[in-house]
Amino acid sequence: MIDNSSSGVLDGNAAAGLLQEIFVLDVTTAQIECAACGSTWVVGSLRLYAIQMGAILRCNHCDGVVMKAVRTPHGHWLEMTGARNLIFQV
């Protein structure tokens, strides 16, 4: 049902799979603090903007980019300069 992307662009759920390739713990239930505005959100509640080969996550409050993830032929590339921390509760 989430098949949609005839263009080859990933959608939000596909991006969750990409992030889960990087993290061992469930990243969608982790809390992320936005570096720009300081608000904290569950990662799964964020909007995932699909880009070629990857995803951009934006803050629900200020729209700042908190995470960028890209899959390349050589491995995964993750940028989190827009986030203060990522908390996995166990």
Binding site: M1, A16, L25, T28, A50
Partner: protein, 254 residues
């Protein structure tokens, strides 16, 4: 039988498994369910999704995400797939797949858009089109566990023929006074249709969803514009942004 209610945080690498098609169900002219046996499947919670990967003979691979339609209690894993024009994966999965076919699958993925019987209610589910799929896993789970959580499903479809799981939903609601199904048909209504016949708007949600004072758990799934619109209306009605869990599919902008 002991059922673990809340699966532990997934502390494992996401690996590809082999799925075999055991049964194919035609849901609507454009929608098919595949019942899969997945070797090594570790179980899931209602609302989670999986990735599937098809490999052509020349090695070309295509990967897509699909919500799980079956509850954790079932032996086979059900995916419900809508055929998308020019969708290279969905075209295969709807109409060209046969029992015995195999492909790669990984999951479950995503612990955010999840409801378990232990989460309780009241439960308000809002579906647009094939956005019903993960919500159906929740309803089936609720049914299997005989959960008493008061529940309403608000389900927007183009026409009656496009309502996925119609008979099963009717049967569930008719044997359970705590569950209500509200259909709205946005493009075509059969003669004598007594239900809603318009896109989900503020008045419709106010009439059908539990009020904010009851702290309902709200799950919204559908195409991106549908989800954006419904979640905005719910917040306008006084529901807390954080109480409204959403899952969007379709081109996600940018």
């Amino acid at each position: 039988m002991m059922v673990i209610e809340t699966a532990p945080v997934a502390a494992r690498r996401l690996g590809w498994l082999l799925a075999e098609v055991r049964e194919i169900l035609v849901e609507t002219p454009r929608v098919t369910s595949l019942l899969l046996h997945v070797a090594g499947w570790q179980g899931h919670r209602a609302g989670q999704h999986v990735d599937i990967r098809l490999t052509a003979e020349d090695g070309y691979q295509a990967q897509r995400s699909y919500s799980v339609a079956s509850p954790p209690e079932d032996d086979l894993l059900a995916l419900t797939v809508e055929r998308v024009e020019n969708g290279e994966v969905s075209q295969y999965l709807v109409g060209h797949v046969s029992a015995g076919d195999q492909f790669q699958l990984r999951g479950p993925i995503g612990g955010y858009f999840v409801w378990t019987a232990a989460t309780g209610g009241p439960l308000c589910l809002v579906a647009g089109g094939s956005g019903i799929v993960p919500l159906m896993a929740m309803l089936r789970h609720r049914d299997r566990r005989s959960s008493r959580a008061p529940t309403v499903l608000v389900y927007s479809s183009r026409s009656l023929e496009d309502v996925i799981y119609r008979d099963e939903l009717d049967a569930m609601a008719s044997r359970d006074p705590r569950m209500r199904v509200v259909n709205t048909l946005t493009r075509k209504q059969p003669e004598g249709w007594m239900g809603y016949g318009r896109r989900i708007d503020r008045a419709l949600l106010a009439e059908t969803c539990f009020p904010p004072e009851q702290n309902p758990k709200i799950y919204v799934c559908g195409p991106t514009p549908f989800v954006e619109s419904v979640s905005r209306l719910l917040v306008e009605l006084g529901h807390n942004t954080r109480a409204v869990k959403t899952e969007r599919f379709g081109p996600s902008g940018a």
